[in-house]
């Protein structure tokens, strides 16, 4: 079959053809970029945190009537309360390990600072999130230690967040170690935190530990984390609880009861009191999931509308050319020829549409890159989009084309 008669026929439907080409192009451009955004969001919410997320619970609370000052007496009183809570939690059935833990990955509450090789912060300077906690923190979170050792009980300090005392020992995540000591000999070296005069010795290196923030400002240092051997004393205190497999729900329930039984003068609202890590994960990525779902729905509807548009337009053309088809059939064209005619016609239109669409998709992507946090659209997405668009075109044209092929030759003899 030659393309020439198809083109000749299309020339008589210029406006219609232009519109359907435009529709296919726009749909392709939007769908390509939307699917790419979905992909990015999914990639984002599948990022590993570096901790063992199952059977992990965070218990957070605030004492009522506890001292809030920075004086030594207040700090001691707060630490006493905190140690009592830790003991209460350790005594619960189903609990494997408990650690004082100011924050967790993606949980949102973040303290961050700069680590450098000299006290005056000249030279290499690495931004990192601080995880304050005790000697149980690393093992409770299930973070993989690749070099060195854990803190021991004697190294744990306790102070308020405003305390100026530097930690004599720290455990850093591998990205921090690699940035400070590119030769890979970070273990045992000393570094300085936030311009403090006293050095901190790196006693351990953990493989991977995401920071507590998922906000975009934290992206440049998303895996730069440092464990600080500090039980933070404050009106609010939180604990990480590793439960025995399958006991998460029981422990969550029991922890709340036990803490209130031990000391009722505290506040533990449902919204942030006792949460499993999966709750924290769900909350952290709620917006991303919502956006991905919305984009997905819009894409599906768009493709549906475009497919329906093709069906509608082709149906009209079939109806309009009813008699011509009859004539062609009477002159010897087979059914398959008629079917192919419409299929090729669609392929031509969709082909022009996708070429235009690829240009539009790239243009839209460039525009999004300048205005939003977007990366370059990978070729794979565009190619998949092109193939999908052509396939949808063929799928949509099939029904009307088959109806056209069913037009009997006798139509040619009838008056319209």
């Amino acid at each position: 079959m030659t393309v020439h008669p198809i083109l000749a026929a299309l020339r008589r439907h210029k406006a219609g053809v232009v519109l359907i080409v435009l529709q296919i192009a726009l749909t392709l451009a939007i769908v390509c970029n939307a699917v790419f955004i979905i992909g990015q969001r999914i990639e984002r919410l599948n990022r590993p945190t570096g901790i063992d997320e199952s059977n992990l619970v965070r218990a957070a609370q605030a004492w009522v009537g506890a001292p809030s000052g920075d004086d030594a007496a207040s700090v001691e009183k707060l630490d006493e309360l905190q140690r009592a809570d830790l003991a209460t939690l350790r005594g619960l059935p189903g609990v494997q390990e408990v650690a004082a833990s100011e924050s967790l990955p993606i949980q949102g509450m973040i303290w961050s600072g700069d680590v450098s090789l000299t006290p005056d912060q000249k030279g290499i300077d690495v931004q990192a999130a601080y995880y304050y906690g005790d000697e149980h923190l690393r093992s409770t979170l299930g973070v993989h230690l690749i070099a060195g050792r854990d803190f021991n009980a004697g190294e744990i300090l306790h102070r308020t967040i405003r305390g100026t005392e530097a930690s004599p020992v720290i455990i850093v995540s591998k990205p921090v170690a690699d940035k400070l000591f590119p030769k890979g000999d970070a273990l045992g070296k000393t570094v300085y935190q936030d311009g403090k005069a006293q050095p901190s010795t790196i006693v351990g290196i953990v493989e991977q530990l995401q920071t507590p923030t998922t906000d975009s400002w934290g992206n440049p240092f998303a895996y730069n984390s440092i464990l600080e051997p500090v039980r933070l004393d404050g009106v609010m205190a939180s604990y990480a609880v590793r439960t025995l497999p399958g006991r998460e729900q029981d422990v969550m329930h029991e922890a709340r009861k036990a803490l209130f039984a031990a000391n009722p003068k505290r506040i533990m609202p449902d919204s942030w009191g006792v949460q499993s890590f999966s709750d924290i994960r769900t909350k952290a990525y709620r917006a991303d999931r919502g956006m991905a779902i919305l984009m997905g729905v819009v894409c599906l509807i768009l493709l549906g509308v475009t497919a329906a548009g093709i069906v509608g337009l082709t149906s009209f053309w079939v109806g309009q050319r009813h008699r011509q088809i009859g004539v062609r059939r009477a002159l010897g064209a087979r059914r398959i020829d008629i079917l192919h005619y419409f299929q090729i016609e669609n392929l031509l239109i969709a082909g022009v549409g996708v070429v235009l669409g690829v240009l539009l998709a790239v243009g839209l992507n460039l525009w999004l890159m300048t205005h939003y946090e977007m990366e370059r659209l990978p070729v794979l997405y565009v190619l998949t989009g092109v193939l999908a668009m052509l396939a949808i075109g063929q799928g949509a044209v099939f029904v009307p084309a088959r109806r056209a092929s069913n037009v009997p030759p006798v139509v040619a003899t009838r008056a319209a």
């Binding site: 219609g16 749909t27 000052g69 939003y372």
Partner: protein, 432 residues
């Protein structure tokens, strides 16, 4: 004549029910999606204090040391205690308020209510008159209360309902942990959106705080601070002297001359601090007005903007789709139109008739789209984001929807109707 055209249009639309439904649905989905996202965008980028916002300004200074200095650095978003206090006490603006967020433990007098934490704002006296915060009972505290670290508080009507069943509670004591403060005022319902005076609190669109205390009192009682804090050059135990920015400062400047004068003052102040050796970087000040500040802080989530663009792209495809289908439909009726032309109908009459037909599609699409927008906004409200509750269709958005619907239907109808009118009657009659 219009009635007759309408009759014809309905007759023609009924002949192709599926197609009519498809066209109406496409327009409805496009309009529904665009209106939902546009309404959310409109609500989120709205003016929190209409009529007042243009006289409110947010001064920024550059107090940091030379560490990591880049000439393109913007000054920090907040002030240090020292600078905040200096600017506050200088009283160079018509009104000024220094503030930070916090959390206070509230212990109700009734033993039946468990103690709880409330979000609080520690600020200075001008906060209430400057931001036009309406008082239900009592009054705000005075500047002398600020100076004397008076144990006074203003509470929200929500907290007043909870603790005092909505009765006038002025003069009553509010127990915060071990300390008690006297309630001097109760705010009426007040929720500026966004939460402009401190956008780092609860996702920029959070509710107004329940407890307002003089900043000096809050510091004296060692109450917990909340919000963003940035420090440099070594930590310090005492926030009052620490090189940390953690306070928001707002000023009211009633005329452009005063704005210019205040800008001058900020420059002068920075130079002075530099001469004293406190500031090290080159003088770098900002004095953005309220809306400019919100814009600079990119308060509207970029996802919401992206969704709006997506929805309008969607509407465009739906419109193109409808134009295409309508065109095909009209062209198919070329024969019928030819007959009407031959029988004496003018081009204008044909055009009007076809436009009525497309108008019917557009209008029904618009009405369905409006319903879909209501559904869409209901869905947005079910989402857990901090601005969810704000997603309501107001009068201006309702009007926009109608204009959008009519505009969309006209665009969708004009081209097909015009093309169909270009028919030569003789040719059409002959070909049949």
């Amino acid at each position: 004549m219009f009635g007759y055209y309408l009759d014809m249009a309905l007759h023609s639309l009924r002949r192709n029910r599926m197609l009519t439904a498809l066209m109406v649905l496409a327009i409805a989905l496009g309009i529904g999606a665009s209106m939902t996202t546009l309404t959310v965008l409109h609500v989120l980028s709205g003016d929190p204090l209409p009529g007042t916002s243009q006289t409110l300004f947010y001064p920024q200074l550059e107090p940091r040391d030379m560490d990591g200095y880049q000439p393109t650095d913007e000054p920090p978003d907040q002030l240090t205690w020292i600078d905040g206090m200096n600017l506050l006490h200088a009283r160079r603006a018509d009104r000024q308020a220094l503030m930070t967020g916090g959390t206070v433990p509230v212990q109700p007098v009734q033993s039946s209510v468990d103690p709880f934490y409330s979000d609080a704002r520690y600020t200075t006296a001008d906060f209430f008159p400057m931001f036009k915060a309406p008082m239900l009972y009592g009054r705000a505290w005075s500047a002398s209360d600020d100076d004397s670290k008076a144990r006074v508080a203003v509470i929200s009507s929500k907290l007043n309902d909870k603790l005092f069943s909505g009765k006038d509670s002025t003069g009553q004591m509010l127990q915060l942990g071990d300390d008690a403060v006297r309630i001097v005022g109760v705010l009426d319902r007040w929720r500026p959106n966004p939460h402009f005076y401190d956008i780092n609190i609860s996702g920029s669109y959070g509710p107004t705080e329940d407890v307002f205390l003089p900043l000096s009192t809050a510091r004296d009682l060692k109450l917990t601070n909340n919000g963003m804090m940035n420090c440099w050059g070594g930590h310090n135990d005492h926030l009052e002297i620490a090189p940390c920015t953690w306070l928001q400062f707002w000023v009211q400047l009633d005329s452009p001359a005063k704005v210019a004068a205040y800008r001058e003052y900020l420059t002068h102040y920075s130079q002075e601090q530099k001469a004293l050796g406190r500031f090290q970087r080159p003088v770098n000040i900002r004095l953005l007005d309220l809306m400019g500040w919100l814009d600079y802080q990119k308060v509207v989530p970029s996802d919401v903007r992206l969704q709006t663009w997506l929805a309008f792209g969607f509407l465009l495809v739906c419109l193109v789709n409808t134009v295409g289908l309508m065109l095909a439909k009209f062209m198919r009726r070329a024969g019928e139109l030819g007959v009407r032309r031959a029988l004496g109908a003018s081009k204008r009459a044909l055009f009007a008739q076809l436009l009525v037909e497309s108008g019917v599609i557009g209008l029904s699409g618009g009405i369905c789209g409006l319903l879909l927008a209501f559904v869409g906004l209901w869905l947005v409200r079910q989402r857990p984001s901090s601005y969810a509750g704000l997603a309501q269709l107001d009068m201006s958005m309702l009007l926009t929807t109608f204009l959008l619907a009519i505009g969309a239907s006209l665009i969708a109808g004009l081209l097909p109707a015009w093309r169909a009118c270009q028919i030569t009657p003789a040719l059409q009659l002959k070909s049949n």
